[in-house]
Amino acid sequence: MEIAADRAKADAPFLMRAEEFARFAEARRERALRLAFRLLAGDEATAEDVVQNAFFRAHRALAGFRGDASIDTWFYRILVREVQRQRRWQALRSWFAVDPDLAAAAVDPRPVGDPGLRARIARALERLSAGQREAFVLVHLEELTIHEAAEVLGKAVGTVKSHLHRALAALRVELGDLRAPTPFGDGSKEGDET
């Protein structure tokens, strides 16, 4: 697991130096961008802004980092909160927006892979609740363990499991046709969300 193999807590004081922080940000930029992109349902430009804000906040909060969690868990928690803040802000803006289509036009049109598939996955993720989406993205798309995801989200392990179960059930219905057909049927099983 990438998150567990990252830098030790003892490194934190050294990150105060600008060049060390630049290295810290450089090492996590791509992954942070991917996580934000997935949590923001495919809005690449906003994901970049959010990641930048998260690095900025991390730099500001670094002096207060006590080393209770790994520095990555700590940083991803900041990132997830930044995403949540962004989503609240977007919801507020769409509430006051004159043209709701304009406010909802968030998915980046740049073609990466299959744009149609991307849009479908984004839509399916958008239909999940925030908790379900976060749990699903962290565990199944970013491949964190349930414990790591719970730590990042600041939720109980049982809550995360429950979110995952519901998210999987919903996505199996929405995106079930993306499963490769097997000679043994659709192969879906309950309780394999770890």
Partner: protein, 119 residues
């Protein structure tokens, strides 16, 4: 289970952002560096400015009451302070000066004094 694994892999592969091009990555770094530098600069100037203002306010606060207290202290003699401390001394001094009673009462006092003198 394995079917879910393939399905999830398909979702992971199908739903990822384009890797940052070197120019975009450089722009990202520059923007972040600029924000951090702005913050560092603000802290460099804001902290000394705040500390200076606080020191100036403290100096002003200390200087103002000290001056007034010194002036008051210089105008008061130790005898006057003693008279305030001892009310009898204060009263007798006023009696000597004859101005511890209002004029009407001083007139009455004179009449009484004359009266006792006549007896």
């Amino acid at each position: 289970m394995s079917d879910d694994r393939h399905w999830l892999e398909a979702l992971r592969d199908g739903f990822r952002p384009e890797p940052m091009s070197p120019s975009r990555a450089a722009a990202f770094r520059r923007a972040l560096d600029a924000r951090l530098e702005r913050r560092a600069r603000a802290r460099r100037f804001a902290l000394p400015a705040l500390a200076g203002a606080a020191l100036a306010a403290l100096a002003l606060w200390l200087a103002w009451p000290v001056t007034r207290a010194t002036e008051l202290a210089a105008g008061v003699t130790s005898a006057e302070i003693d008279s305030f401390v001892d009310p009898d001394t204060f009263a007798s001094e006023l009696a000597e000066r004859g101005d511890y009673l209002p004029a009407d009462y001083q007139g009455l006092a004179l009449l009484l004094e004359d009266d006792t003198a006549d007896r």
